[in-house]
Amino acid sequence: MNVMGIIFANDANMGELSHRRTMGSIPFGGRYRQIDFHLSNMSAAGIRHIGIVSRQNYQSLINHIGSGEEWGLDLEEGGLEFLTPFAMSSSHSYRGKLEGLFHAMNFFNFGPDNEYVVMADSAILCNLDLNSVLNAHIKSGKDITVVTKAGIANGKKQLDLAIQLNESGEIADIAVDYAAPDNYLASMDLFVLSKSLLRRLVQECIARNLYHMDRDLVLGSWQRGEITLNVYNFPGLAMFNESVEEYFRNSLALLNSRTRHDLFYYNHPVYTKVRDRVPTYYGEESSIDNCLVADGGMLEGSVRDSVLFRQVTIKAGAKIENCLIMNDTIVGENCELKYVILDKDVVIQPGTQLIGTPNRPIIIKRGEKV
């Protein structure tokens, strides 16, 4: 079976965290970037040709992924391609995913026409077996398979694409950008369809100045009766990191061992860029409780209910609770931090006090000194 992958790296934003990077390159879970999860899903399923569509701020993403060797994607044939605006036929950024795809049509010229395409979005993290999704897609005989997750819709969260099934499992309603009630399934922005159909639908939409994946390609085509849809409801864990609040909550959810298992081990290992840091040193006076800790740390203070990324320094007397502390950040002596996200390369001067709330964590931008 020939399958190509597409990962959208930045079709959302998370304020200060995505200020100078793509959604795909936002750090997550101590040692990963968000894009690692779909790259690992695709790599584990044997997908050997993957295009990464990004519209801006993609330097950090390119730096992270490099040749793709960590994911086994540094190949003679296929491998990874960055479909950046520069590589696309027009140099301006795109309005919606369909424009991104349209500009990258050359990517689809590779390989035979009878291929399938899996499209994913790096804001939604999961560890799933794409081969079972592909097999279900083929077995269904439908045009497009949408992977969904139950329990995400709650009447408040705005869903990109919400689907309601009737009692016999057929699609009763599809809505876009909709705060759907809890009897809807949330699309995981993960689709399977044939390459030829994707090309045709993208061209049809672009020809009519339509560029929105969910509204125009999925909902529009379905309403006009042009396509049939299959729903694959994923029973495992899916983390929708579409806002700072969700990102923060999902990060701290990793302190639960079941959640860690479901995200890191459920179907396959998750690969990321190797950084060759030394193991973390826990000092004589340190007190680390209920934390996820990456390599390279130098811990002298006390930290609880937090995630510490690579090469973090926590000086003696610092008290940290419910925080995310990213790579190479230094927290000085006797600081007190609660509900704070410290981005990479931040320096917190000794004695600083920063107190956020669970719904509104304080974010200190990359490279800042406080």
């Binding site: 879970g29 101590g30 040692r31 060797e69 302190l255 061992s257 860690r260 890191f264 290992p269 998750v270 690969y271 990321t272 190797v274 060759d276 030394v278 193991p279 973390t280 040193y281 826990y282 000092g283 004589e284 340190s286 680390i288 409780d289 209920n290 934390c291 996820l292 800790v293 990456a294 390599d295 130098m298 609880r304 995630v307 510490l308 990324f309």
Partner: protein, 396 residues
């Protein structure tokens, strides 16, 4: 056939059994023994090569090579898999003239790979061994060698006089030139111990290897034959003093000590160091470590992929280990993939890869600071059953 002209290449002797590490090297070559939470011993010389700008390394393997070969792979973790670099594993092989077979000694191992070295037409060859923990700039040593105009330069370090008779001792003139070499002398005249790191002019070494091979009485060893031979032949030989951290981890005690040297606020061996002296290793795809609310982690190194629910003090916990609730690990080296179940106690021990210390088992003992510590060892893949006691100094 000349592949590519190189000024300097390295040959890493990694074939020894390391029999003094006993159960730890029963199925593993010594250079592949885990160290410091996420490394293996061979990562140190290999990373030193890369950090010294030496991009061509021949690795001589012989004893239990499977794991070592797999670990080295194509040299990718050290960046030795590029167009202009290589990490080439060199096992013994059979030759048409039958003048080959198992490596008879360190010099014979290099002799049998003269063809490999000739492919790079080097000026200098650095000879290294795969059983030392240290960070060193080999390039500085090669520069020293070149400037001195010597045929051979040997790295030396100052050892206490009481220990000097365990080493090869180099007696030098004030200008660091060597006038005498004594292998493990009963009455050492100096405290300049050879570190087993040599830089040779390749033409000199090549000739010496051919002559050594032709001598039926030679044990084909660098320390016993090649070095004294060159000295007697009147070659200029220099001692290159090195005062950084260096440890031969050839015994259970020294392996344990070297691991303990990583700990503390100002560790004896600062493995962190600066970016230019990073130690590279083959990495596992494991998530970050989880430290539970009830866990106690004091003065320890914990590598990624571990889950700690119990108490860990003054210890090294390697990649992918689990320390269960109520378990106690003290003054120990826990190698990758080990499970220590609830209530188990591990003290003054080395626990081999993927071993399991079952519930309430007790491994090792407690010692006063004056007492000599008897380190207990649990071999790779061994299960210490529930309630079992492994005595201080015992091996399982």
């Amino acid at each position: 056939m000349l592949v590519q002209k190189k000024r300097c290449i390295a040959m890493l002797l990694a074939g020894g059994q390391g029999s003094r590490l006993k159960v730890l090297t029963e199925k593993t070559a010594k250079p592949a023994v885990p160290f410091g939470g996420k490394y293996r011993i061979i990562d140190f010389p290999l990373s030193n090569c890369v950090n010294s700008g030496i991009d061509t390394v021949g690795i001589l393997t012989q004893y239990q090579p499977l794991e070592l070969n797999e670990y080295i792979g194509n040299g990718q973790p050290w960046g030795l898999n590029k167009t202009r670099s290589c990490a080439q594993v060199l096992p013994p092989y059979e030759r048409h003239d039958k003048k080959s077979g198992w490596y008879k000694g360190t010099a014979n191992a290099i002799y049998q790979n003269i063809d490999f070295i000739e492919r790079f037409d080097p000026e200098y060859v650095v000879i290294l061994s795969g059983d030392h923990i240290y960070k060193m700039d080999y390039n500085a040593m090669v520069e020293f060698h070149e400037k001195s105009g010597a045929s051979c330069t040997i790295a030396v370090r100052d050892v206490p006089l009481s220990e000097a008779s365990r080493f090869g001792i180099l007696n030098t003139n004030p200008d660091n030139s060597i006038y005498e070499f004594e292998e493990k002398p009963a009455k050492p005249k100096s405290t300049n111990a050879s570190m087993g790191i040599y830089v040779f002019n390749w033409d000199v070494l090549r000739k010496a290897l051919l002559e050594d091979e032709a001598d039926p009485n030679s044990s084909n060893d660098f320390g016993k034959n090649i070095i004294p031979g060159l000295l007697n032949a009147g070659h200029k030989m220099m001692a290159y003093p090195f005062d950084g951290y260096w440890k031969d981890v050839g015994t259970i005690d020294s392996l344990w000590e070297a691991n303990m040297d990583l700990l503390g606020k100002e560790p004896a061996f600062d493995i962190r160091g600066d970016e230019r002296h990073k130690i590279y290793a083959r990495n596992n795809a494991l998530p970050s470590s989880y430290i539970d609310e009830k866990a106690k982690t004091v003065n320890c190194f914990i590598a990624e992929g571990s889950e700690v629910y119990g108490s860990v003090q003054s210890s090294i916990i390697s990649t992918g280990c689990t320390v269960g609730a109520g378990a106690l690990v003290e003054n120990s080296v826990v190698m990758p993939g080990v499970t220590i179940e609830s209530g188990a106690i591990v003290r003054h021990s080395i626990v081999g890869e993927n071993a399991k210390i079952s519930r309430n088992a007790v491994v090792g003992g407690v010692f006063t600071p004056e007492e000599e510590k008897a380190i207990s060892v649990v071999a790779k893949n061994t299960v210490v059953e529930t309630g079992t006691v492994v005595l201080p100094g015992e091996m399982r």
